[in-house]
């Protein structure tokens, strides 16, 4: 069976096995602490804080690409599975009880936010790359604003040409009423986030409906405008999804540092008052 598994599925199985072993070992340790009437809260709290600290080191590792500290992809794998381990330990630590007191509620919420943002980041990093590839031309994120401006200028040129050559204003009116706003800024962010093509399909359909009011020559320009609409949709999609992939860390990382700080305070208070 093993020979039919790909490298990634083999790695997933091994890592899952290691995670389950770590959880089982932790559970056994917790049980032995409980039987010895020692504080399981201290054990799980220390394990949780330590794990979170190690997880946070991944960010430091990223800043040191030239130091031989294992490949970043190895760290990612460790980060993913150690993250799941932290979630399990968190539930051991809290005993699945709801928090009480303002600080505890805040700490509890921040942990959940860090964990959820991590899981969300993992899911997005597995879903969005292929969507980006399949949707349209791959673009560099930094170049998207200038490409958008260029595209708008191109569309305006087409409209002017259409007016000059056909003396018909159907396209120009459509541009003024709807397309100008569409081309001048990023649109349909929510739909791009969820992978819906409804807005661009609706718009192209609306543009196609205009054909009946056009002379034959104007229809040629309409086809060019529709191509630009699709290109703009790809720009928006690339900007939205690449933006999310880039900026979700701006939520995950600051939350992690808040968590570490609050976790440290929580630990100190627990040690001081118990």
């Amino acid at each position: 069976m093993a020979s039919t598994l790909t490298f990634f599925s083999q790695r997933r199985l091994i890592n899952l096995g290691l995670l389950l072993s770590a959880v089982a070992a932790f559970w056994a340790l917790q049980e032995s602490y409980a039987n010895g009437i020692r504080s399981t809260g201290l054990l799980s709290g220390t394990a949780l804080f330590g794990t979170c600290l190690v997880l946070a080191l991944f960010n430091a590792r990223k800043k040191l690409p030239f130091i031989p500290l294992l490949k970043a992809s190895t760290w990612t794998q460790f980060h993913i599975y150690a993250g799941w381990f932290a979630v399990v330990v968190f539930f051991f630590h809290t005993g699945l009880r709801m928090p009480n007191g303002l600080f505890e509620i805040a700490l509890y919420s921040v942990f959940l936010a860090v964990a959820l943002s991590g899981v969300l980041g993992l899911i997005l990093s597995r879903i969005y790359p292929s969507r980006l590839r399949l949707y349209g031309e791959n673009l560099m994120y930094e170049r998207i604003p200038s490409l958008r401006q260029q595209l708008q200028a191109d569309v305006e040129k087409i409209i002017w040409k259409s007016v000059n050559e056909t003396k018909s204003f159907t396209l120009a009116r459509m541009y003024e009423s709807k397309l100008k706003a569409y081309f001048s800024a990023k649109k349909n962010t929510f739909h791009h986030l969820i992978g819906s093509e409804k807005p661009v399909n609706d718009l192209t359909e609306e543009l196609n409906q205009l054909q009946r009011y056009m002379v034959a020559a104007e229809r040629v320009f309409l086809a060019e405008v529709i191509e630009c609409v699709k290109a703009k949709d790809n720009l928006d999609m690339q900007a939205t999804c690449q933006g999310v992939l880039k900026y979700w860390l701006f939520i995950h990382i600051p939350l992690t540092f808040s968590l570490l700080l609050m976790g440290l305070l929580h630990g100190l208070m627990a040690l001081a008052f118990n």
């Binding site: 790909t6 490298f7 990634f8 990223k62 800043k63 040191l64 690409p65 030239f66 130091i67 031989p68 490949k71 970043a72 992809s73 760290w75 990612t76 997005l124 990093s125 969005y128 790359p129 292929s130 980006l132 590839r133 791959n138 560099m140 994120y141 690449q242 992939l245 880039k246």
Partner: protein, 569 residues
Amino acid sequence: MSEAPATISRPQRWDVPFESAMGAVAVARILSIPPFSQIDASRFPASTSLPDILLNDTGLRSFKKNQVIVREGDYGNSAFFIITGSVRVALGKDAIPAEVLGRRQPEKKDFLSTLRQLWGNARYPEVRSLRRYKEAKAGAEHEKGDDTTAIFLHDIPSVLKGGTAVLTAGMFFGEIAALSRTPRTATIFAEEDCELLEIRWQGLRELRLRAPEIKQFIDTNYRKYSLENHLRETKYFKDLSPAELKEVANQTRFETYGSFDWHSNYKKNRDVAPEERIKEEPLIAEEGQYANGLVLIRAGFARMSQKYNQGERTASYLSRGQMFGFDEIAHNWNTKDSAPLQYTLRALGYVDVLVVPTSVVEQYILPKIPQASFPPPIVAQNKQINDRRDGELSTDVVEFLVDNRFINGRATMVMDLDRCTRCDDCIRACASAHDNNPRFVRHGHQIGRYMIANACMHCLDPVCMIGCPTGAIHRNALGGQVVINDTTCIGCSTCANSCPYNNIQMVEIRNELGEHILDQENRPVTKAAKCDLCVEQMTGPACVNACPHDALTRVDMQDTQTFAKWLQR
């Protein structure tokens, strides 16, 4: 406060000579020795006169008895001419064990220098030290280059695995590696105290171009030695006795297809449809014809294709060391059949081949092969497009690699776009490792979910090196990475224009204050810049090391199995 702009004189070809000790007396002496004395100096233009070439592109070297001059496997950028004494060539692959040759590891940055990149990188793009350029003008390239510590062979009979050949005064050696941009094929050591003239390959190229006597001399040697060396290294020829090998070599034909500087033609025809382009590729052997010889690829690349409906399906590509036609010849000899060639072989750009006639293969080679080692019998095939086994590249990938000549890459950057989150950690890592200057672009040709990024591939046949007037772009002697010596680069753009993959950028350099460095005419000074495969970094390529999602790798296109495995992860 206004300061004078940072200026240097525009870099010139011979700003940094190969050897500073070469003077007029040494040049006059060389010009008195044949074949240099026979060269008609009037054939050389005033800008690159014969004495100037000898003055700037050559150096005198003395070697003691048993001292190693060149080592098998090292990348050489120069050839040698024997002035006095004699040298001995160790024949055969790995004729002298690597440990005896004192092969060292490529030099890497130490831990502190590595760590210093965290805060020591420049704040502006493409910052260079003016002091370094000024100092370099006073010195010479070779003296500060990748010269190795003197290595002497002791107890030669016991360390030598194969035979040797002697080269005496008046002969050239090392020109094969220098001209074909390949590793040295043999280790050569001094048989007695000797004096040699080392010629930088740019100088050798000028000599070949302007002096027919030198060209003929070198080309004869090139054909003779490359042929014998190649046969000796080939799988089925290893068991031949020296006499048999000589006989086989005598009957082997040396053939060349395509153009040596294939890149210009390739760039011109890049937009032609693939099915049209394939017809333009020089035909070496045709499917359906009788296999009248075993074709051994000596240098360059060849496409192995099969008729498929109205077109041709590329089954594979062959490069140095691979052979074509053996299966058919062996099958026919073994089964008394007359199966024709199953594939067509065409030159991709430029290719050197050795053709061993079928009768010679049948007489000397096949009888020595055990029955179990024979290739499987040929059966009529009806292979479909993209039929592939594990460890094999699919047809579309092979076609893509061949059409775009990515087969040339030894460290091609391949990205899996279905795993790449466009986080640019690879770019940032690259910039960190290169004084804040990224040396590749996350953009390039795509096949399905894979992209070949615009990063130097450290080609098997680095055509970027062909036109470099100073040898600034060269192979690292130990690892073979194609690197640029920033000091000797004169910013002529020849390498950038030659690279078929647009992987070399010309950059305008600045001083530490971020000001452009200008020449005497107030024009910005440019330098060629590209990926150096992080040759000095402790971790190897920073881009691969930094990718958090296993989306990026560097691939040797000659190792198709590893590549196929990576694609099939």
